[in-house]
């Protein structure tokens, strides 16, 4: 495929989503994080008191907890310099027409309505801290499926939220989960009733517009017994000189016999700190799959995890990371085998270019009594430049003898022979290298819905431009 022409035609030489809207907000908190801000957020949202109590407890915990010292370099992240809450619009749009014009323009440029029209699936789009646009196919509603913004979810389904909030990711779990619990706003609330199987994916889109903005969406997905759902989200942010901060928490409950697939393609601009906690509790004979693409951001620390709680549960994590100049993708996956006959698979592919650094950080834990656990981890790293760096830090903790656990990782550069072969067939060196990279990520790309696979390939091509020679 003559992708070079494609790229030129698209005019994508710069960060594609780097445009920004004028800031015109209903409410913008001052910078920094303290109790007043947390109370303000809660009161703006008219939240029940129990939620405010959780927020305040989480804030206290975050303030008492030491700043995380592992993983990527967080020294550039200054809480005093971050807006923790911005409210762009009064209400949630029920139809596209109701969405404020400037926000609509944003999403049109991002291709959201277009995508929605094309595949006729549900789209929730988050703009700053609030969900502003939202739709759901009628028949799903009739089946009892709930797909709305998390704030609406809390308002309309308080009992369900109260029962599950913070159960999969408690605020004590890690520093960023505590911060998120204190200031969360927006995110998706998804509830799939018993036995309901959705054959189209639900989609959400997250975007940061304001400079020095923190986005702290909270997503909760509950898949009842025997139900099935696929959820897809994409993230972008414009480029600013000031760093921004994104720290979402995604809690997923996959009950017995259910199946959930959660796909993220993260393409934040290169000054966003992207520190996310994604975790699923997986019941008996249930399956959780994470498909995780990390292309943007300055530093990503994200380790989707599966807690295999019921006998026969299965977890799968497919991830791809692309670290360009100045980027650090610290990604990976965690699987906790807590029940017998559970199985898991992690496939991680990373590409480091320029001064980019990609790290795989993983945990595989087989708890005592989780007999006959099986797991396999494969990590492959491709280095494109002399200054590029890759690391692999897999933790393998096995406490039950009836386990079969394997981990393998390889690091290599693009093979000279592969390049030579393709070039001898008339491809330019750039095109040949891109083709090799595309082949390298194929196992992940093929798991994505078509339009995301196309997008991923296009982004990779973009990033690869001029990478050789």
């Amino acid at each position: 495929m003559p992708f070079n022409e494609d790229v030129a035609a698209l005019g994508l030489d710069e960060y594609k989503f780097g445009f920004r809207d004028a800031e015109d907000y209903i409410f913008k908190s001052r910078k920094g994080l303290d109790e007043d801000i947390v109370r303000e957020i809660s009161s703006q949202k008219n939240e029940p008191k129990w939620m405010l109590d959780i927020r305040l407890k989480a804030l206290k915990h975050a303030q008492a907890r030491p700043w995380p010292e592992w993983g990527g370099d967080l020294s550039g992240l200054n809480f005093e310099d971050i807006y923790f809450y911005i409210r762009p619009s009064e209400k949630v749009g029920k139809t596209w027409d109701e969405v404020p014009e400037n926000i609509k323009n944003t999403f049109e440029r991002l291709g959201i309505p277009d995508q929605e029209r094309r595949i006729l699936a549900g789209v929730g789009a988050q703009y700053e801290s609030e969900v502003v646009y939202h739709s759901l196919k009628a028949e799903w509603e009739q089946a009892g499926v709930i797909f709305k913004g998390m704030d609406d979810g809390l308002r309309d389904h308080e009992d369900i939220v109260r029962e599950h909030f913070g159960k999969v990711v408690p605020y004590r779990d890690n520093f960023f989960a505590a911060v998120n619990t204190a200031v969360w706003s927006g995110g998706s609330f998804v509830y799939i009733p018993k036995g309901v199987k959705l054959d189209m994916p639900l989609q959400a889109y997250f975007r940061i517009n304001a400079e020095s903005m923190g986005q702290f969406e909270r997503t909760m997905i509950i898949v009842e017994e025997g139900a099935q759902v696929q959820y897809i989200e994409g993230c972008t942010a414009p480029s600013y000189s000031q760093d921004s901060f994104h720290s979402g928490v995604i809690e997923i409950l996959v009950k017995d016999g259910a199946r959930c697939r959660y796909t993220t393609i993260q393409n934040w601009s290169h000054n966003v700190y992207n520190l996310v906690t994604q975790r699923a509790m997986v019941g008996r004979d249930a399956t959780m799959e994470w498909v995780d693409g990390n292309l943007g951001s300055k530093l990503t620390m994200k380790y989707p995890s599966c807690y295999l709680m019921g006998e026969g549960a299965r977890g799968e994590i497919l991830s791809i990371a692309y670290a360009g100049n100045g980027q650090h993708q610290d990604a990976g996956g965690k699987v906790i085998h807590a029940a017998p006959h559970t199985s898991s698979r992690i496939v991680s592919k990373s590409i480091s270019k320029g001064t980019g650094r990609s790290s795989y950080r993983g945990l595989l834990h087989v708890q005592p009594g989780a007999h006959h656990a099986r797991s396999n981890v494969e990590c492959d790293a491709l280095l494109l430049d002399e200054q590029a760096r890759t690391d692999t830090y897999p933790y393998i903790n096995i406490e039950d003898q009836h386990a079969q656990i394997g981990h393998e990782a390889t690091v290599s550069k693009i093979g000279d022979e592969q390049l030579f072969y393709l070039m001898s067939r008339g491809l330019s060196e750039d095109a040949a290298a891109t083709m090799v990279v595309r082949g390298f990520i194929e196992p992940i790309a093929k798991e994505l819905p078509l339009e995301y696979a196309v997008e991923l390939n296009r982004l990779i091509e973009l990033e690869m431009e001029g990478s050789v020679g």
Binding site: L383, T390, T392, I396, A403, I405, T410
Partner: protein, 447 residues
Amino acid sequence: MPDTITPADVGAFTRDQVEILAARKGEAEWLRASRMAAHGVFADTPMPTTRLEDWRYTDIKKLVRLDEFSFAEERGPASVGAGLPAGLATLMAEAGEFEARLVQIDASVVIRELPESLAAQGVIFTSLEIAAQEHPELVQKHLGTAITTDDGKFAAMNAALWTGGTFLYVPRGVQVEAPFRVYRWITEGGTAAFGRTLVVAEQGSKFSVVETLGSDDLAKPALSVGAAEIFADEGAVAIYTSVQRYGRGVAHLSTDRLVAGRDAKITTLYTSFGADLARADVQCRMQAPGSHIDMLGLYIADGTQHFDNQTLQDHLAPHASSNLLFKGALSDKGRSVFRGLIRVHPKAQRTDAYQTNRNLLLSDGARADSLPNLEIQADDVRCSHAATVGQLDEEEVFYLLSRGIPKAEAVRLVVFGFFAEVLEQLPLEGVKQELLRVVERKLATRR
């Protein structure tokens, strides 16, 4: 973050004691000064906690209390066949062929045997104490250069407090067939011994060193804090093997550094059979092009034994290679930690580096933690690692059962085969046979 230092952290091993030690041995000023500097690091470094990444799975604060130990005693010269502790005599009798022997009991080297023919070629094989007196230039040039003040509390503790010790110097081009054997023996609980080894392989030399660490089972805990520095100059071929066969009650902490020069080849084997707790921190440095290091490891833990192996394959130069294979079997409540790192520095292009850790869990209370890490900063490299944790291959056991071999024997044979892969890579036939017997015995007495 550093925790406050309590008197217990420093224990009985005070600055005054270091002064007294250096004075009593009549040590040169440079050595006394280096001991004192090391003691400073030791005293200023808190006991590691599990909050430190390197110590995440070994709670040393809980396992070792430094204030429970006092210095191991000094011993006068001894001879083989007379007055050696029975256990030590057995270890020595079990050994295969050897070229020369050095025996340290507690704080002192009590036996030194070096054939006249080797001495005539310039080989030096003596206690590090004597070497520091007789060959100060050689010792000063190397001692404490591969292990530095950055290597942590126990490396510093050894640098401040070592006694006896081993010094082996093999001049240019000298090749020695059978191994140099070193024995270190701890006689009493409540004591701490600080063995130290310095091996210098000059250009084109070729030889092997086997160190065996032993004691009886001790009712009161004893502490062994060891350190070794091995230097292989251009084209040298050196084999360094550590056979840890301490009795129960012993905690063994060691810091070893191996440095390979241009086209040098080092093979190391670290085994853990005995002790309650053994932690080896082994780093190999590929210092110049063409260097190659094979790192082998073998551990069998039963009861509540806890073995922790920390390895680094450090590639500083281009066109070098390294290959690591550590295998372990765990039964009862035995625990192992393997944390290995391949680090390729930006200039180390054309590195080939491999790392494999395989663990067998033989009972339900056993636990294995494996952390095979890579940090790669050069792009033209081939690096890979693999780790597995699992049970015995049931098909292999079934095959043996179908041939009429009883279950226990079949399991033993399969485990035996599992370890044979490591030992086959050790190019020392006599030592290999000896270790196979130790493996066999350990598996037979598995509780």
